[in-house]
C-alpha cells in the first residue's frame, strides 16, 4: 500500500491537505495518486490571488499515461504556488508529500477541514476503488 501520512487530511479526489496554522493549508496529490498516474510530465497550477471554492478545479496534472484535474480540498485564496514543479514535474513522483506540494491556500472557512478524510478513511476509500 502507498504511503499515507497520519498527520494529513485527504479528499476523495486524491489531494492531501496539511494544516500549517494561521488558517493556511498546503495541498498536493497523494502517493497513491502519483503512483496511479505514473511519470508526471506537465503540471497546471492556479495563480496566486485566485479565490477557489472547495471541490473547484484548481489545476491539473498530466502523466505520460493520463491527465487528471486537481480540486481544491477547501475554500480559500491561493497565497503561494510551487513554481519549481513546472521545470521538474517528476518531483511529484519523487516526493508527493514534500517538495511535490502544489499550492497553499488561506482558508475562508477553516471549519471545512472537518469534512476531509483521515488517513484511515482515505485508505479505505482507495481500497474500494
Amino acid at each position: 500500500m502507498s504511503d499515507t501520512p497520519k498527520e494529513l487530511k485527504y479528499a476523495l479526489t486524491h489531494e492531501w491537505t496539511l494544516d500549517e496554522g494561521d488558517g493556511v493549508v498546503s495541498v498536493g496529490i497523494t502517493d497513491y495518486a502519483q503512483e496511479s498516474l505514473g511519470d508526471v510530465v506537465y503540471i497546471e497550477l492556479p495563480e496566486v490571488g485566485d479565490k477557489i471554492s472547495a471541490a473547484d478545479e484548481a489545476g491539473a496534472v498530466e502523466s505520460v499515461k493520463a491527465a487528471s484535474d486537481i480540486f481544491a480540498p477547501v475554500s480559500g485564496e491561493v497565497i503561494a504556488i510551487n513554481e519549481d514543479l513546472e521545470d521538474a514535474p517528476e518531483t511529484i513522483n519523487d516526493s508527493p508529500y514534500g517538495d511535490g506540494w502544489f499550492f497553499k491556500l488561506k482558508m475562508s472557512d477553516p471549519s471545512e477541514l472537518k469534512h476531509l478524510l483521515s488517513a484511515d478513511e482515505y485508505i479505505e476509500s482507495v481500497e474500494e476503488e
Binding site: 505514473g38 511519470d39 510530465v41 506537465y42 498530466e62 505520460v64 491527465a67 517528476e90 513522483n93
Partner: protein
C-alpha cells in the same frame, strides 16, 4: 487468473509494477517509465515480451501455405534465420495481424501479437485446410528483447565468443540459432528504433539468462517504455494504427506487400489491389505538439478546409523530445498544420512523416514557426 511469464518472479524481485496485458500480468514499469526509456535510448535495456505468440509451422507445403497466408512473400527468404515483417490480411484487405516470419532450420516461425494470438491461430488453422502443414504454438519459449546502442556489446559479454561474433555480423531482420535445433534464436530485430536483439529461448532457461543480462549491466524496462519507444520510432501497434478494417496501404505498410510474383495469390490480394487502384482517402502521419499537453488516442484532428476529421491512433509523451507526439490517420489532403481537440481546447500541431527518433536522434526536419 491471468497468465504469467516465466520471468514473473524475476520482475517482482526487480520491483515491477504489473499491468494486465490481454490476460497476461506483464511489467508496466520498474519505477519510472521515462528513466527506462532514456536507458534504452542512451545505453541499453531489456524487455520481457514472452506474452507474444510464437507459432512454428512445418510440412511439405509450408512455403506454399505461407505465400498464400501472408502479404509479404516468404520466397524472399533463402536460408534459415532470415526474417520478414508481414501483414496477414483478410479477404477485405484488412489487417488480421502484423508479424515477423523467420525460416527455421526446419520450417518457419511466426511471431505474432499477444492480444490477437487466439484469433490468429484460428485464422491460420482455417487457411491450413488443403495444405500439408502442421502448426505448433510454442508456449515453451520465452522472448527477451535487448535494445539500445550498447545492446549488442552487453549481450556479447553473456553469450560467449562464437555466437557473439555471429550476432555482431547479423543484418537487421536476420537471426542465428545457437543450437543445431531452433532453441535459442538470436534475431537482430526490435521495436524501439535502436539496435538490438530479440532472443527467443526455452522458458526453462529464461530466468537465468535474464539475471545474467542484468549482471552484465542491462536494466529491465517495462511495456510502458516499450510503447513510448516504438511511438518515437514511428512504428505501428496493432489495434491502433491498423486492424481488420484498415488496409496496409492506410498504415504505411505498402512496402510489406510483395507484388513481384504476379502469379502469387494471397489472402486479401484483390481487395488491396482494388484499394490501390482507387487511390488513398487518408494517410498515416506523425504529429508534434510542442506546447503543454499530451495527445491521446481517439482525439479528433481538424484539417483546415476539410470536413472529414482525422483521429489520433496513438498519442503519448516523447521523453527524448520533451513534448507530446502521436500517430494520426488524417484526410489525404492534410498539409503541415492541423488542430487537435485536446482536453480543454484545440491546439495547433505539426504533421510530419511518421517517425520521430532513431538511434537516439530526432529524424524530422527542425520545427519552424507556423507561418
Amino acid at each position: 487468473m491471468n497468465s504469467r511469464s516465466c520471468l514473473y518472479t524475476a520482475h517482482e524481485k526487480m520491483g515491477a509494477k504489473f499491468v494486465d496485458f490481454s490476460g497476461w500480468d506483464m511489467p508496466l514499469h520498474y519505477g519510472s517509465q521515462i528513466k527506462e526509456h532514456h536507458c534504452v535510448r542512451r545505453d541499453c535495456g531489456m524487455f520481457d515480451v514472452s506474452h507474444m505468440t510464437v507459432v512454428d509451422i512445418d510440412g511439405s507445403d509450408v512455403r506454399a501455405y505461407l505465400r498464400y497466408l501472408l502479404a509479404n512473400d516468404v520466397a524472399k527468404i533463402i536460408e534459415p534465420g532470415q526474417g520478414l515483417y508481414s501483414a496477414m490480411l483478410n479477404d477485405r484487405g484488412g489487417v488480421v495481424d502484423d508479424l515477423i516470419v523467420y525460416a527455421l532450420p526446419r520450417g518457419f516461425r511466426l511471431v505474432l501479437n499477444c492480444a490477437t494470438g487466439d484469433k490468429d491461430l484460428a485464422w491460420m488453422n482455417e487457411y491450413a485446410q488443403g495444405f500439408q502443414v502442421t502448426l505448433q504454438q510454442r508456449d515453451d519459449l520465452a522472448i527477451i528483447a535487448v535494445q539500445g546502442p550498447q545492446a549488442i556489446a552487453r549481450a556479447r559479454t553473456v553469450v560467449g565468443q562464437s555466437i557473439g561474433e555471429k550476432i555482431s555480423a547479423l543484418k537487421t531482420f536476420n537471426s542465428v540459432f545457437a543450437q543445431a535445433d531452433d532453441s535459442w534464436q538470436y534475431a537482430r530485430t526490435g521495436y524501439t528504433g535502436e539496435d538490438g536483439l530479440e532472443i527467443i529461448l526455452p522458458s526453462s532457461e529464461a530466468e537465468a539468462f535474464w539475471w545474467q543480462l542484468h549482471d552484465a549491466g542491462v536494466s529491465p524496462a517495462g511495456l510502458a517504455a516499450r510503447d513510448t519507444l516504438r511511438l518515437e520510432a514511428g512504428l505501428n501497434l496493432y489495434g491502433h494504427e491498423m486492424d481488420e478494417s484498415i488496409s496496409p496501404l492506410q498504415a504505411n505498410m505498402a512496402w510489406t506487400i510483395t507484388w513481384a510474383d504476379s502469379k502469387r495469390d494471397f489472402v486479401g490480394r484483390s481487395a488491396v489491389l482494388a484499394a490501390r487502384d482507387a487511390g488513398p482517402q487518408d494517410k498515416l502521419v506523425g504529429v508534434l505538439l510542442t506546447q503543454r499537453g499530451v495527445l491521446r488516442d481517439g482525439q479528433a484532428v481538424y484539417i483546415e478546409g476539410c470536413e472529414q476529421l482525422g483521429v489520433i491512433t496513438s498519442g503519448s509523451f516523447s521523453p527524448t523530445l520533451g513534448y507530446s507526439i502521436a500517430l494520426a490517420r488524417v484526410p489525404v489532403q492534410a498539409g503541415e498544420w492541423a488542430e487537435v481537440a485536446m482536453r480543454k481546447k484545440r491546439e495547433t500541431v505539426r504533421l510530419i512523416e511518421p517517425g520521430f527518433v532513431r538511434h537516439g536522434q530526432p529524424i524530422f526536419a527542425p520545427y519552424v514557426e507556423q507561418p
